[in-house]
Every structure is written in C-alpha cells, then in structure tokens.
Subunit: 198 residues, 2 copies
DNA sequence: TATACTGCTTGACGGGTGTACAGTCGCGCG
DNA sequence: CGCGCGACTGTACACCCGTCAAGCAGTATA
C-alpha cells in the first residue's frame, strides 16, 4: 500500500481540494463566482467531478460554510479564552476577511435554503457563547451595572463590525473611526484598554 | 392631441412600468430575481423592451436605486424634520422593507460597479445629513456631553438596524430586543421617550 | 482470472443569462 | 398620400448555469 499523505484516498484529497477551492473563490471573488465551473477550474479539476463528490451546489456550500465555522470557532474560542476576552472578540469581529465571508454567505443563503438553516444555527451558537463570555467577564470583574445587558453587547459588536464591512464594500468609511472609538469606550467599561503588564 | 394621463408618451409610461417592476421584483424576490426576463414579465412586457429603454442592466439597476434613494430621501427628510428627529430616524432605520432593500443593493453592487459608486455617494450623503441632524439636536437641547459623537451615533443606528435585518434573513432574532432596548436607552440621552404632549 | 469498486472523463441535456439588431406597426405631420 | 419616427417585436447570438448518464482505467478483492 502506498503512503497516503494524511488522506484516506486520492478521492478524499480531490474532494478536499474542491472544498478549499470553493472557499478560496468565495473569499477572492465573492458569491457571484461561486459556480461549479469556476470552483472546479480553481481546483484544476473537471467541473463534473463536483457532482461526483457532492450531491449539489447546495451540499457543497453548506460544507464550505461548516468548514468556515469550524475554523472560526477555533479563533472564537481562543479569543474568549484570552485574558481580555471582549477585546479579543471585538478584534475578531473586525477581522476583515472573516467578516466579508459572512456577507457572501448571506447572499448565497438567499439561494440555498439549507445554508440559511445552517447559518441560523451557527449564528445562534456563536451568540450564545458570546453572551456567556460577557456574563463571565461581568461576574469575574464584579461589574454589576454594565452599560447594557450581555445579549445587547454581543449583538452590538456583531452589528457594528458587520456594518463597517458592508460600507467598506462600497468604499464608504466615513464615521468608522468614530464608531470604533465608541465601541472602544463601551468595552472600556468591561475591560482595560491596555493589556495587563507582565 | 390626446390627453396623455400624466405621461409624456406611451414610451415613457412603459419605461416607468419597467422601473417599477424592477423595484417590485427586488423587494419581493430579492437580487437573484433581478433579471431581464423576470422584470419584463412582471411589467407584462417583452424582455427586449428592457434594452430599448436602458442601455444595460447596470443602467437599470442604477436608475432603480436612485429612485429608491429619492423616495427614501423624502421619508428621511420628514423624519429629520419631526419633533423628535432621532427617534424618527431610528424608526426609519428599523423599517424592514426599506432596510431589506439595501441588502439587495449590496448584493447587486458586487456585480455592477456603477451601482457601487452610486451607493457610496448616497450613503455618504445620508450619513452627512444625519450627522448634521444629530448635532442640531444636541445644540438645541443643550447636550454638551453626548454618549458619543454625532458620526458615531449615525453609524451606530445604521449598523444596528441593518444587522437586525441581516440576521432576520436567516431567522435569527435572538438578542434583537435587547439591542433595541439599548438603542432606546442611548436615544434617551438625546430625546425623551414619549412624544411631547399637545 | 473474473468481479467489483473507486476515481475520473466524456459528452450532453435543458434552461437561463445579458445583449444585439433588423424589421414592423401605428400614428402624426407635411 | 407618403414620409418619418417612436414604440415595439422577432429572431438570434454566445455564453454560462447546474445536473446527469455512460464509459473507462486502475486497483483491490474473491
């Protein structure tokens, strides 16, 4: 038997290539380029192979999304485990590539109902984690009267970061620094601005 | 000469029908249905007429967007002229159909560069108006130390409202009431919650 | 050696997309 | 009447879309 370089078979390897190509396409060219032929082209593979490995585009897009989620979950988890979880979370929310991706999925969700369901589930999962983290921070730091309740802060961070991306998509950056400063001020009620000195 | 029912000619009337059909399609079915044939079908007209009146889909989408802007400008203006401009603005921002539309345009802007430019211009225009309105409110009510500066508040309102719509698109409503409550609390620093009694 | 299975290729289907352009109809005007 | 013109139609192009069925090479299994 031949060494299989970490893959169960060449088939699984091709499959992975397709998933990665799809992911890359979405990042680099956005939802309009998320098509059978473009993805296969990017993967250097015949378009029909896509239907050999995936029932349909809908199945593929869901898998790609779940993969995004998994990798995001790691970053998310690291952020929430860091010394200043809320600052880290906010920074993660502001991560451009990651936030852009969400918008592409939003567009695709209009076409693929299964993706819609998946996004809903993931969204609620992440929000719940964030709410929990915020409440933990409040408890640990003895913050009894935060500027807003935990769900509101979680939703606020998502909203502001996401809107910066949306507006950025049409080259609108006015007021972004201001709203960033505001968020910084809000977070200051929870966590110090500077990292704890070693 | 025949009475022309308010239109310069039947041609102009058909043209308007197409624009309205395009607008309706975008509202009812979203960006994926924004196609020559669907729009013409909705208008009850042969698809080729679309290219008789418009150079391309890009031209049409820009015109449709400008029309949206014009009608939105009216509402926007009324809101900012009302006794409690910020409350009215917030309510307008939360207007579902209107906010949904923006998302469809965002998706289309990925395809049509001209729309991108148009959206940028419009976005900056509206934001500037809002900032001005916020500053006026502060001046009139003697608010010298608002919770945040005017640009931040303007961006914040857009962001929060827009995110509610985005999440609503995937049936996510968790934390929305909370973040609404927070916005209400923020606005309370500027304007009373209840309308002034007559 | 025969069989079955995996991985992939070939070729094609039906339908949708935006766009182009020559032709036709009806009506007003000279 | 005849001309012109604006409104509209017929027909067509080239391309892209997702999907499917059949076949084929190589390997593993029996």
């Amino acid at each position: 038997m031949v060494a299989n370089r970490g893959y169960q078979s060449t088939g699984a390897r091709t499959r992975l290539q397709l998933i990665e190509a799809a992911s890359a396409i979405l990042d680099e060219e956005g939802y309009p380029a998320f098509t059978v032929r473009r993805i296969a082209g990017k993967a250097g593979v015949k378009p029909q192979l896509l239907h050999y490995y995936f029932r349909s585009m809908e199945e593929l897009v869901v898998i790609v999304f779940q993969r995004s989620c998994a990798s995001y979950f790691q970053m998310h988890d690291e952020a929430l485990s860091s010394p200043r979880p809320l600052r880290a979370l906010w920074k993660l929310n502001c991560d451009l590539p990651e936030a852009r991706r969400v918008l592409e999925y939003v567009a695709l969700a209009k076409i693929y109902p299964a993706l819609r369901a998946e996004m809903r589930a993931a969204g609620m999962r992440f929000r719940a984690l964030q709410i929990e983290a915020i409440e933990t921070v409040c408890a640990q730091r003895g913050i009894t009267h935060p500027p807003m309740n935990a769900p509101a802060l979680a939703a606020l961070m998502s909203a502001v970061a996401r809107n910066i991306v949306i507006e950025g998509n049409v080259s609108m950056t006015a007021a972004h620094d201001d709203v960033r400063a505001f968020m910084d001020q809000v977070l200051a009620a929870y966590e110090p601005r500077q990292p704890v000195n070693p």
